[in-house]
Symmetry: C2
Subunit: 349 residues, 2 copies
């Protein structure tokens, strides 16, 4: 590994000059001619700065800490991590990802990250919920991903939950459904609240009545199926908006039992917190796709902009179908989601 010292020696200048040039701080301080030479030698030697040495001096590591509760348990996290990783990579950062199962080891992991001198933290949840940010990281730049902090103390990147509910329901309405059920979540997280609102709004706009009996709040496993089953029997809905794919599964199960065919007798739209389910197992499930990759990507951009104290607008966004709001939009910023049509939304004759 070539060092600055070596470059300095071979070019016949001092280390400080090399440092100046290689950090692009040479404007008007080093003769263009010399600068040119330095750059050449650096190039020739295949110079790459030693991040450790640099960090030791600057106490900036260019390492980001990614804290997530459930990397292991859900497939979704990958998309976020991937996007974050890409952004980090593009911006010259590395990411250390730690997994905190609940709270037991959270402090330890954070302490470790801090010792390694991370410049800031990403804090990600599964499904947009209220997150309790550990005291220990509040002095650092922090950006939440798919999560919300109380009082919006921290910038957060989250999907446009209202829009998810609205779009999904609208799609069902367009397909001709008139008795649309919402298979929701029994937890009062922002995701649930926002999607339910979107659902109601879409119904209202279409002149359909919201009927509480057509919504279920599902938590566990056993009761869940019977709740959906009961909904089938009592209300006979012709369309279903499902909080996520796991919940959509219950609809599939019940439909099968009743001899109904998805995309023909009833229509279903799910949200892909577990898109992998939908794609592998239920190709006919129409899905509102969460922009996980983009959320990760954007979160890192936001975080780095905070760390380096430069305007967010200077970042390049990934090519994506999801529309991004302006980065300087008031928090909580939210990302528009994409609706992927599949055959499961039948036109009701």
């Amino acid at each position: 590994m070539a060092t600055m010292k070596e470059i300095a020696r071979q070019t016949g200048v001092s280390v400080s000059t090399v440092s100046l040039v290689l950090n692009n701080r040479d404007e008007g301080r080093v003769k263009p001619h010399i600068a040119q030479q330095v750059r050449q030698t650096a190039e020739r030697l295949g110079y790459a700065p030693n991040p450790l040495a640099r960090s030791l001096r600057t106490s900036r590591t260019k390492i980001l800490g990614f804290i997530s509760e459930e990397i292991a348990t859900t497939p979704f996290a990958g998309g976020i991590i991937l996007g974050a990783q890409d952004a980090a990579s593009t911006l010259g950062y590395m990411m250390i990802t730690v997994n905190t199962d609940g709270v037991s080891n959270e402090d330890d992991e954070i302490a470790a990250l801090q010792r390694y001198g991370v410049d800031g933290f990403l804090y990600a949840k599964m499904s947009n919920r209220l997150a309790q940010i550990p005291q220990s990281i509040t002095d650092y730049p922090v950006v939440l991903v798919d999560a919300t902090s109380e009082g919006h103390r921290f910038p957060s990147i989250q999907p446009d939950e209202f829009r998810i509910g609205y779009d999904a329901t609208k799609r069902l309405i367009e397909a001709g459904c008139t008795k649309i059920a919402y298979i929701g979540c029994d937890d009062d997280m922002p995701a649930q609240i926002g999607r339910l609102q979107g659902y109601r709004q879409a119904l209202e706009n279409a002149g359909l009545r919201f009927d509480e009996r057509r919504t279920v709040a599902i938590g566990g496993n056993g009761p869940a199926l019977s709740a959906v089953s009961k909904l089938f029997d009592n209300e006979g809905p012709d369309g279903f908006f499902c909080f996520n794919d796991a919940r959509a599964w219950y609809v599939y199960e019940c439909a099968a039992r009743c001899g109904l065919t998805i995309g023909q007798d009833i229509s279903v739209v799910g949200v892909d917190n577990h898109r992998v389910f939908a794609e592998t197992l239920h190709p006919r499930l129409t899905t509102v796709e969460l922009p996980h990759y983009e959320m990760g990507y954007w979160a890192v951009c936001r975080l780095v902009s905070e760390i380096e104290d430069r305007p967010p607008s200077s970042f390049i966004m990934p090519a994506t179908t999801a529309q991004m709001p302006a980065l300087d939009a008031p928090a909580p910023a939210s990302i528009h989601c994409t609706l992927i049509n599949k055959e499961s939304v039948a036109r009701q004759a």
Copy 2:
């Protein structure tokens, strides 16, 4: 952050003494009395070493690079990463995880990891397959996870593929199945080969004839389902050993179409490369559980043992149901997998 210098000052000794003590190299070199004092001050000041400074000196970072192709796309990776993370954490290491989509960015990511001075690499694949280890990391300690290198050049942690096939098939035989099908993979990876061998051996041991017509090699999507469907029609198997859960799904689909009930009319055993499927969607699917967590954990132990050049036996293994072979067993070491019985394996009347 307290430094050694500060400790030295407050204790009235020199930095070197402090360094000696705090690195537990004081045995017979520093008066126990002094050492004691040093430790106390360190404790009092809440001293934590600065890994950067240390690394700069030792060129050991205590950072491990984890390279995986598909963190994003499959849920399985989580288990491995989690185990690896835990082991790393226990052994005082951090892990930087990078995702290489195919080969395009692999070299860049590796270069980045190298600049950050990782001490070694974990190289993980999805499903045990032959891995092409990039030239650039061959000078580092490398351990493969759920993968095999040509000629076993590198130590690798992989499941006992033969045993997976053997156990799964044996389970079906015990359930009374006589016409057992193998829904396999159309790729010649070690996982496929080993499991198929196990399948054949189990049949043979039970005095059942191996019949090529009862095996399918499945690749893509469309053809896959029809292949399984044909198998149903032509051979009418009463038991199915499926390469993974995605393939098990085809069996479910066909069974449903034929009006057969899993766990009653036919029996199914799958392998959980995607356990999440099985648990959430198919509670009745009997699963051979791959010890992902353990593989990750063990891989890191192996890697660190290489890095620090100390005997592997000095590591503490995680409490686990999966039996681990001796760490100094000849490579490739393989881990025994656990069979999880569920109702899908019916006793055939």
